[in-house]
Amino acid sequence: MARKVSNTRKTVVTLAAWSIGFLIFFPILWIIILGFKSEGDAIKTPLQVLFSDWTLQSYHDVQARSNYARHFWNSVILSVGSTMIALAIAIPAAWSMAFVPGKRTKDLLMWMLSTKMMPAVGVLVPMYLLFRDFGLLDSRIGLVGVLTLINLPIVVWMLYTYFKEIPGEILEAARMDGASLRSEILYVLTPMAVPGIASTMLLNIILAWNEAFWTLQLTTSQAAPLTQFIASYSSPEGLFYAKLSAASTMAIAPILILGWFSQKQLVRGLTFGAVK
């Protein structure tokens, strides 16, 4: 039976929800606003900023000073590349863990997740030295490898929980129906797992796109993605709020748009299994 909710209560709850939403979104909104101001106006006290002139100057400056397109393509290659490789490794891994679990499967999953609990900076020096000695510094290949590895545990976990929801009897039915392992995966499992694979892929692209520790430490120019592009505006030359904001807006815009269009998939991925 539906609970009766008074209109006042509805209004209050709605207002509260919008306020919290606004509060969370505020820093992003502020960055977008500052991007359209002159450097002089950008450091004024908040209300003055809102009423000062709007300008595209910072965007012109950013375009003139940096190569946005190169950073953008680097971000695309790093996030999509690392996600694809992670999926290629994680799908069979999650598959075997979900459908042919061994005695140590649970331990293995916990161990994989535990690697995410270690602060990345803890392995910075050995990683840096490895990259230097193998000539991988500032290379896309090296960074794709790192991003693949740091997100792999989450990808395996997400796919594992997703595959666990697929009833084993359906796979057994396919086996009884004469499906080979290949047909079983191709005709029965994959079509059923597509939503889960898609949401895992989207989430991982976003995580890789925003990854800022390794991308800042291990790149300088050639392989530098958009995180490096933003960081270059908080340089020893000083802090340029308007340009930094314009650069940030340009960096987050693509992933924000991707997230917006795929939010249905994403929400399903993040809340999957919450209710049957």
Binding site: E169, I170, R175, G178, A179, P191, M192
Partner: protein, 332 residues
């Protein structure tokens, strides 16, 4: 086609022997029901026959051929699962055609067989729907359709009706029985419901703790249970089992008498007070507190005018009393 022989088939999960060793022959065209309480190993036995579980020992042969190590698809068996296990992303038509597609059959022949199965199972109007748009009974029919089209050597049913409501279960039960009469293919049916076992089977295999307690026709098991377990398990309501001096009087440790084999009235040797009377319309079942004999269930006619608190006398019918020894086995 469809003779299945199990020779000393064993299954253990780690240290636990789920099935310590079973010998069984299932004849061609027979409807065999595996029945037993939860955890007795009946589903495991079916899965061993299907090839979904590996045996720990013994030989499974199908039509005289050793199938112990064959993969499920090569055994020419079709299975209907408890959860139906339909492919949710495929239409009913594609679900039913899936085994044919896997066998590489041409499209025209697939279509012919699917339509034939749909006609037998009254699924003609639902062929383009997805399983999610069907009721439980229709889903079960699709699952059966998927089994039929393969023209298997034998059908395996793993508690196929337990997800259906009571009324539907009765009608599906009859449909499966009729299907068996039409197709005349061997069927192995697993259930914990002894009513299903009694009504459907040519041969019942009663299992307990991974062992076969008795094999026989429904009425054989009903009339002559080999031991106390079968006596208590087959029949609804349960057989009355009486121990103590009354059993000793018949030279047994336990005596058994079915509710319908106790006559009420006259000056019968047993006496008791009615605790509960359940009027089912055609019959009335009385729970009688019979003092040293314990609580007895007695069947009376539907019209009987006996109520809670009435004192009655009862007579066990001559020749219907079963005697069991100290080891639980029936005494001749």
């Amino acid at each position: 086609m469809g003779k299945i022989t199990l020779t000393q088939v064993r299954k253990s999960f780690g240290e636990v022997d789920v099935i310590p060793g079973i010998d069984l022959t299932i004849d061609e065209g027979e409807f065999v029901v595996f029945v037993g309480p939860s955890g007795c190993g009946k589903s495991t036995l079916l899965r061993l026959i299907a090839g979904l579980e590996d045996t720990s020992g013994g030989v499974i042969s199908i039509d005289g051929m050793d199938a112990t190590d064959l993969p499920p698809a090569k055994r020419r068996l079709a299975m209907v699962f408890q959860s139906y296990a339909l492919y949710p992303h495929m239409s009913v038509r594609k679900n039913i055609a899936f085994p044919l597609k896997m066998a590489g059959m041409d499209a025209a022949e697939q279509e012919k067989r699917v339509n034939h199965a749909a006609r037998i199972l009254n699924l003609g109007n639902y062929l383009d729907r997805r399983p999610g748009q069907l009721s439980g009974g229709q889903r079960q029919r699709v699952a059966i359709g998927r089994a039929i089209v393969r023209e298997p050597a034998a059908f395996l049913f793993d508690e196929p009706l337990s997800n259906l409501d009571a009324a539907l279960r009765v009608s599906m039960r009859q449909e499966i029985s009729e299907l068996h009469q039409t197709l005349k293919t061997t069927m192995i049916y697993v259930t914990h419901d002894q009513v299903e076992a009694m009504t459907m089977a040519d041969k019942i295999v009663v299992l307990n703790a991974g062992r076969i307690e008795q094999v026989g026709s429904p009425m054989e098991l009903y009339r002559n249970p080999a031991n106390l377990f079968v006596a208590g398990f087959i029949g609804s309501p349960k057989m009355n089992l009486i121990e103590g001096p009354e059993a000793a009087r018949h030279n047994a440790t336990t005596i058994g008498i079915r509710p319908e084999h106790i006559d009420i009235g006259g000056d019968g040797p047993w006496q008791g007070v009615v605790g509960l009377s359940e009027h089912l319309g055609s019959d009335t079942f009385l729970k009688v507190n019979a003092g040293p004999l314990g609580t007895l269930t007695v069947r009376a006619s539907g019209e009987v005018d006996i109520h809670h608190g009435d004192s009655i006398r009862m007579t066990p019918q001559v020749g219907k009393l079963l005697r069991f020894g100290a080891d639980g086995k029936a005494l001749k």
